[in-house]
C-alpha cells in the first residue's frame, strides 16, 4: 500500500509540474486532470473512498469541464500570443501524459486484482454522511448559499454586454 501511495504521489507532483509549465492552455488542463486523478488514487489508498470518488466526479469531471468550456469560448489563437498553429506537432506532449496515465492505470489494476480492501482504517461514506447532516448541518447550508452566490455571480459576469452601455 505504501508503494502505491509513493507512486501516485510522484505522479501527482510530476503532472502538476508539467501542468504549470506547459505553454498551451489545453495541455495544462489535461495534465491537471491527470494530477487530480493521481490524488484520487492517493485518497483511496488513505482509506477515504468518498473523497476519492468526489475528486474524480466533481474536480476532474465537473470543474475541469467548466475550464474546458471557457477555453472553447475564448479563441486563444486570435491575438497571436499563443505559439504554433496546430498541425504537424511532435509526439512528445502525448508521450509524457501517456506514460503518467499508464502508471495510474497499472496501479488501479494492481489494487483491483491483487489487494482488495487493504490499506489503513477506512472512513466509510456513511459516517461522512451522518457527520454532514449532524454536527455540520449549518456548514452544509452555508456551502449551499455559497454555491448559489457563485451561480448568480457567474450569470451576472457572463451575461452579454448591453448595447447601449458605455464602456
Amino acid at each position: 500500500m505504501n508503494a502505491i501511495a509513493w507512486i501516485s504521489g510522484a505522479v501527482a507532483v510530476l503532472a502538476t509540474l508539467l501542468a504549470v509549465t506547459r505553454r498551451r492552455a489545453i495541455h495544462c488542463l489535461l495534465y491537471l486532470i491527470l494530477s487530480l486523478l493521481a490524488v484520487a488514487v492517493l485518497f483511496s489508498t488513505l482509506g477515504a473512498p468518498l473523497a476519492a470518488a468526489l475528486e474524480v466526479i466533481v474536480y476532474a469531471g465537473a470543474i475541469m469541464v467548466l475550464f474546458l468550456f471557457a477555453l472553447m469560448l475564448l479563441d486563444l489563437r486570435a491575438p497571436g500570443q499563443e505559439e504554433g498553429a496546430g498541425g504537424g506537432r511532435s509526439l512528445v506532449p502525448w508521450l509524457g501524459a501517456g506514460i503518467l496515465g499508464a502508471v495510474l492505470l497499472a496501479e488501479m489494476l494492481y489494487v483491483l486484482l491483487r489487494a482488495p480492501g487493504g490499506g489503513p482504517a477506512q472512513v466509510a461514506p456513511a459516517e461522512v454522511g451522518a457527520a454532514l447532516f449532524g454536527p455540520y448541518l449549518l456548514a452544509v447550508e452555508l456551502a449551499s448559499f455559497l454555491l448559489l452566490v457563485g451561480l448568480v455571480g457567474a450569470f451576472h459576469l457572463g451575461r452579454p454586454e448591453p448595447k447601449g452601455e458605455s464602456r
Binding site: 495544462c28 473523497a51 465537473a62 482504517a121 457563485g150
Partner: protein
C-alpha cells in the same frame, strides 16, 4: 515512510507548485488552474488528517472545499470571459489599468 508522510510531502509540493504557478504565469486561465492546485493540496491535507485519526471530519471539510472551489471557478471564469471581452487577451498585465 508511511502513507501519511507521503501524502503530506505530496500536499506540500503541490501547494508550492500552485503558488509558483500563480506568481510566475501571466495567463489568467493558468493562474486560475494554479489556484485549483493549491485548493486541492489543502483538501489533501484535510483528508490525510481525517484518515490519520479515523474521523469523518476530514472528508466533510474536503466536501466544503469542493463547494468553495466550484463557486470560485464559476465566478473566476466569468471574470476571465469579461477580461477577454474587454482587452482581447488573457494576459493579466493587460488588466493593470483598471479604473473605478
Amino acid at each position: 515512510m508511511s502513507a501519511l508522510a507521503v501524502g503530506l510531502v505530496t500536499a506540500g509540493t503541490l501547494f508550492v507548485l500552485g503558488l509558483a504557478g500563480v506568481l510566475v504565469r501571466r495567463n489568467t486561465l493558468i493562474m486560475l488552474l494554479s489556484i485549483e492546485v493549491m485548493l486541492n493540496a489543502a483538501g489533501l491535507v484535510f483528508v490525510l488528517a481525517g484518515s490519520r485519526w479515523g474521523q469523518p471530519d476530514g472528508q466533510v471539510m474536503f466536501l466544503l472545499i469542493l463547494a468553495l472551489a466550484a463557486s470560485e471557478v464559476s465566478v473566476g471564469l466569468g471574470l476571465l470571459l469579461q477580461l477577454h471581452r474587454r482587452t482581447g487577451s488573457l494576459d493579466a498585465d493587460r488588466a493593470s489599468r483598471l479604473k473605478g
